[in-house]
């Protein structure tokens, strides 16, 4: 059995929405280098819609894949929907993560929450 599902490997090898969003109006960073995972989410929100999203991640394969999948799940969606994204939804969309890697999906959820909070603090 492989370490990760095909989907995890696909998102790890070909991460979607990777990079920096120069005109982001909501940015959130979670995790720390000590534990080996840092995720940074950039959101561009217009008319309560996540118009664009990008991420940067320092971390293992599942951390990169979780970030990538999370961006896909919220891109083009209403802010309200993005707010409700759970780590479970991220993990399920990846066809599951090993138990000891579930925290990667939690980090993805938290990174989006942090970016939304930043948006609200600066734009509402």
């Amino acid at each position: 059995m492989a370490l990760y599902s095909e989907k995890v490997m696909d998102h790890f090898r070909n991460p979607r929405n990777v990079g920096v969003l120069e005109d982001a109006n909501g940015v959130g960073t979670v995790g720390n280098a000590k534990c080996g995972d840092i995720m940074k989410m950039y959101l561009k929100i217009e008319d309560d819609i996540v118009k664009d999203v990008k991420f940067e991640t320092f971390g293992c394969g599942s951390a990169i894949a979780s970030s990538s999948m999370a961006t896909e799940l919220i891109k083009g969606k209403p802010v309200e929907e993005a707010r409700k994204l759970t780590n479970k939804a991220v993990a399920e969309a990846l066809d599951g993560l090993p138990d000891y890697k579930m925290h990667c999906s939690v980090l993805a959820q938290e990174a989006i929450e942090a970016a939304l909070k930043d948006y609200e603090e600066h734009n509402l």
Binding site: V20, A33, I38, K40, E56, T57, C60
Partner: protein
């Protein structure tokens, strides 16, 4: 595939594989049986014991076959602890970067009331004999220091440490799993009382290993039962595995000079190539290391992603990152040589073998450079460092 994880395990050598298969086919007798078919197996077993002994400069009766390095480490340490306790000595000296087979056994003893001193291994990953001498007390029962570190490949001054132990009358054990079959080891010249080794680290089969215990040391059993191994380890002997291990070891020891001459320049080429990567550093002393080991830290990236992408490029390697250890902490070895967590997560160990070519080395260097650059390209840690928001460590 370029297999660069020989410190994890090695491919069985041809002679080892042939020995094993032929014995499984034709010599399946029980060495404890009286009839000649059993006694043939016994002869094979004793020939293997003599060969293993010769490979490390020991006497055959000083070799005990085990299931591998971990069992040998456990038995050596438990033996010394019990022998010490009988004389009221319950202090053990070791180092901070031993294999877990040693460290976890010492932890168990600590819970049983033993006092454990773990010596610092410095930035270069080498413990000094003077440190051992300073740490020895009246109640020291054992000094256990690995011959070669399994992650960073540094060679410890075992002979000098052994001399210090002899001078003070303290038992000396060395976990030589990464040394035997890779560098010259001689228990007499190296002043070693007990030594652990593992077959599959030198092209023998998995599930085999041995413990050398100097004549006069009464080993404590870990496995009770029959009278095999002179009553020091019960259970029918793994005759094909043991003979295959002995065959592999004999061959490895005969070729030590050739092995060193072939691997050292390739190793140094890889080290020089990876040194060109900005904000990277080699782990462990460059000179005092086994011919096959390369270990680096790259700032701003994480080791597991590095390994997965190298795997995609056909390179099998390992890392000391937390994600590869299944815990939140990176390798205790890298922490012991003073690498901070942030940097230790971005480590890479390449342990090359005899089949490595110069072209392989070029390909490894090129691939690692590409992958490190790619991962840094979307690492928020790297971006901050480049932007001056934070200090580079390497």
């Amino acid at each position: 595939m370029i297999y660069a994880d020989n410190a994890a395990t090695t491919k069985m050598s041809e002679v080892s594989l042939k020995t094993m298969i032929s014995l499984m086919e034709d010599t399946y007798g029980n060495p404890s049986s009286l009839y000649s078919f059993g006694q043939t197996a016994k002869e094979v077993l004793e020939k293997a014991r003599a060969d293993v002994a010769e490979a490390i400069g020991a006497q055959p009766q000083e070799i005990l076959f085990t299931s591998g390095g971990s069992e040998a480490d456990n038995q050596a340490i438990i033996t010394a602890a019990k022998l010490g306790a009988a004389k009221g000595k319950k202090h053990i000296i070791s180092t901070a970067f031993e294999h877990h087979a040693v460290l976890h056994t010492l932890n168990k003893l600590k819970k049983e009331g033993y006092e454990i001193t773990l010596l610092d291994v410095h930035e270069n990953g080498v413990v000094l004999p003077e440190q051992v001498e300073e740490a020895i007390r009246e109640d020291t029962a054992l000094v256990t220091v690995m011959y070669v570190n399994n992650e960073i490949g540094t060679i410890q001054p075992v002979r000098e440490i052994g001399a210090v132990c002899r001078k003070h009358g303290v038992l000396f054990h060395t976990d030589a799993v990464q040394a035997v079959g890779h560098i010259r080891v001689n228990v007499e010249e190296d002043n070693i009382d007990m030594l652990s080794a593992s077959g599959h680290k030198f092209h023998g089969p998995k599930g085999t290993g041995f413990l050398y215990a100097k004549k006069g040391i009464r080993l404590v059993n870990l496995i009770e039962g029959g009278a095999q191994e002179k009553g020091r380890r019960a259970g029918t002997e793994n005759v094909p595995g043991i003979a295959a291990m002995a065959a592999a070891l004999t061959e490895a020891v005969a070729n030590l000079d050739e092995y060193k001459a072939k691997l050292t320049p390739v190793r140094d080429k890889i080290i020089a190539g990876l040194n060109e990567i900005p904000h990277s550093a080699i782990n462990g002393d460059v000179a005092r290391r086994v011919p096959g080991n390369v270990n680096f830290c790259f700032e701003g990236i994480e080791g597991e992603s590095l390994l997965l992408l190298l795997d995609d490029k056909g390179i099998a390697a390992s890392s000391g990152s937390a994600c590869t250890s299944g815990s939140l902490d990176p390798s205790h070895v890298l922490l012991a040589i003073g690498r901070v967590h942030d940097v230790a997560h971005g480590s890479l160990r390449l342990s090359i073998g005899e089949d490595i070519t110069d072209e392989d080395a070029d390909y490894i260097i090129k691939s690692v450079k590409e992958v490190v650059e790619y991962l840094r390209g979307f690492s928020p840690v790297w971006r901050d460092l480049v932007a001056g928001k934070g200090q580079f460590i390497l």
